[in-house]
């Protein structure tokens, strides 16, 4: 059987013509999956005046960009986006369709999957091509997308397979796939898409919109000093900030510290926050729930500071300091200033 399979598509998320990192991470991963399948990776780009994004997408590995450029596609709303993507799927029949597990991706992908009657796996942390032997239904599937995601509050890792018609759809967490180095000489083809919208898809109006770019760049940080519930108060976070500043790093936080209102959600590391893999992660007063560890355990070096020697954070740490962060952090600052 030599049926031609479709290509690997990546939904490109952009804000004001700036491509989201997660989309480039997915183009990078998509290139790898496409190579394995002997197909190519292609981008689906929607917005208004976003044609200038195409070159970047080619540089990261896209062979083709489906460009839907229309004022009605800015700002992002679900219904028109879903319609345009659905029309494209029907026409070009991709094999795989990747979305970032961002707020936009997580509301758009299910709408598309529902209409296409396709399977959709949320928040994947890894993707692989492999065969699937479905013993229950006695069917063998060649070269399927293995959709790997944490489940049950991060306590288990499940591998999911979509056994129905293509495309195999997933959303993928930000920061988990590695971005390739762009190739400045790479070129590709732009396919202009006719945007056919009816009144039905444009019923939801954006009356007001307020947004700011994130001021915290956890994903790009080489050093992260993160505080948890053990920090004790918003006031005490000063110590975390000070250590981060001295070491030239960013400030991270566990969900418990964010929920307590001591620090903004933008700083949250873990399953419901950002996934990070810095050179050095210093966990201060963080007990180390599986949800938190899922977002930082790939860090190259992890130092855990906690008063409780039984805290689970010590099981992922490379260096453990059992002690009070209020004493240990000043010692670290002093030692660093003395050596550096």
């Amino acid at each position: 059987m030599s049926e031609q399979i479709g290509n690997v598509w990546v939904f490109i998320e952009q804000e004001g013509g700036k491509i989201a990192d997660v989309s480039l991470e997915l183009v990078s991963k998509g290139t790898e999956l496409a190579a394995k399948l002997g197909v190519s990776v292609e981008a689906v780009l929607l917005g208004s005046n976003v044609g200038n994004c195409c070159d970047t997408l080619f540089q990261y590995g896209c062979k083709k960009v489906y460009l839907a450029d229309d004022p009605r596609l800015e700002p992002f709303t679900v219904l028109p986006f879903a319609k345009v993507i659905m029309d494209l799927i029907k026409e070009y029949k991709p094999n795989i369709l990747l979305f970032g597990a961002t707020m936009k991706g997580r509301e758009l992908a299910p709408r598309v999957a529902s209409e296409k009657l396709a399977g959709l796996t949320a928040d994947c942390t890894d993707l692989r091509i492999d065969d699937f032997d479905d013993k229950v239904n006695k069917k063998f599937y060649k070269n399927k997308l293995m959709q790997i995601r944490p489940a049950f509050g991060g306590n288990i890792i499940a591998t999911i397979v979509n056994t129905w018609d293509d495309p195999q759809m997933v959303t993928v967490r930000e920061g988990v796939m590695k971005m390739v180095e762009p190739d400045p000489s790479a070129k590709g083809e732009v396919v202009k898409v006719d945007v056919a919208l009816t009144a039905e898809e444009t019923v939801v109006k954006v009356i007001e919109r307020m947004r700011q770019d994130k001021t915290v760049n956890l994903k790009g940080a080489q050093i992260i000093v993160a505080g948890g519930y053990g920090v004790g108060s918003a006031e005490n976070f000063k110590l975390i900030r000070e250590l981060a500043q001295v070491l030239g790093g960013e400030v991270g936080a566990s969900r418990a510290a964010v929920d307590a209102g001591w620090i903004d959600h933008d700083h949250q590391v873990g399953q419901t926050g950002v996934t990070v893999r810095p050179k050095l992660y210093i966990a201060c007063g963080i007990s180390g729930s599986v949800q938190h560890c899922a977002g930082m355990s790939d860090s190259k070096k992890i130092i855990a500071i906690n008063t409780d020697p039984a805290a689970p954070i010590f099981s992922v740490a490379h260096y453990g300091i059992v002690g009070d962060l209020n004493q240990v952090i000043p010692m670290m600052i002093k030692a660093y200033k003395a050596k550096a």
């Binding site: 529902s114 209409e115 009657l117 306590n155 288990i156 999911i160 979509n162 109006k205």
Partner: protein
């Protein structure tokens, strides 16, 4: 004008507080060992509906798909202020992924009848997918507004809501009927003591039948009891797949395109571990080591 609001809720295992006992020796999760709770963001959806009921006149119907025991969350919703409840339960629904679940719930909404709004929590803590809300909206061809924090205005034909977006918020206007997914942006009201007294007697048909066989005392039949309960507003409607006219090929395992190939438990290990003394000397040596191996610049 009185509005009709459907709130879809889910009973979930409390995955946020997993203890050692909840993990089986083979590393899988023992669902039975976890307390079953009202999915947190579904409580926010219910609260939003009840606020609308307070502000305008509205009838709030709460519905869930689950095993017979899921009637517990419906009663809890009645304690907090919901007007009536529907339990969608059938063995044929078992093994459903989000596509099959949203199909079943969309059929349930259609059977409930005309409505102005459907509210769902953004996501359930057992799967964290956030897919079922948008998929119900698509199945019913409704506009969807995700991540709703607050409803600013509801009229007979439209709704205006504030919702979270990455790095900010938006105010959107949509015609009704519409579907919202609701985030943790309000404080769910507690159960009301007077309503508990009344609605603790609210039961599903199966619960009534079970109580008849176990503690049979009176002479009346289940059918009579059902009528009495219904007259008092204490009957939780219980619907099967056939009751909502669901296509058997689109529900449960058969209606689910995604299959679980493998489950692994999470084992966190760092490899090398070095204990560092919480002393000036210990910390100083650590910093020295990190500078030596270029972790610190």
């Amino acid at each position: 004008m009185s509005y009709t609001i459907i709130v879809f809720v889910k009973q979930v295992p409390d995955t946020q507080n997993i203890t050692g006992q909840a993990m089986k020796p083979d590393g899988t999760v023992n669902r039975q060992a976890l307390p079953a709770i009202f999915n947190p963001e579904d409580l926010n959806a219910l609260e939003l509906a009840l606020q609308l009921k307070d502000r305008y006149q509205a009838k709030v119907t709460v519905a869930t798909m689950g095993p017979p025991a899921a009637a517990e969350v419906l009663r809890n919703a009645l304690f907090r202020g919901a007007d009536d409840a529907v339990l969608l339960t059938d063995r044929a629904f078992a093994g459903a992924d989000t596509l099959a679940t949203s199909y079943a719930l969309s059929k349930c909404a259609s059977k409930i009848g005309k409505f102005d709004l459907i509210l769902c929590g953004r996501q359930a803590i057992d799967g964290d997918t956030a897919q079922v809300g948008p998929q119900i909206a698509e199945k019913l061809k409704l506009p969807q507004i995700s991540y709703v924090e607050e409803v600013l205005e509801l009229t007979e034909t439209s709704v205006k809501a504030r919702r979270a977006i990455e790095g900010g918020y938006e105010i959107l206007e949509s015609p009704t009927p519409a579907l919202f997914t609701v985030v943790d942006a309000n404080e769910p009201r507690p159960e009301n003591a007077i309503r508990i007294m009344k609605y603790k007697k609210a039961k599903t048909k199966s619960e009534l039948a079970a109580s008849k066989t176990s503690t049979y005392v009176g002479g009346e039949s289940v059918a009579e009891d059902l009528e009495t309960k219904a007259a008092k507003g204490l009957l939780i409607r219980e619907w099967s797949a056939a009751d909502v006219e669901a296509d058997p090929g689109r529900i449960g395992f058969a209606g689910s395109p995604t299959k679980v190939k493998q489950i692994q438990s999470v084992v966190l290990t760092a490899g090398d571990y070095k204990a560092v003394e919480a002393t000036e000397a210990g910390v100083s040596n650590l910093i020295h080591e990190l500078i030596e191996d270029h972790t610190l610049g």
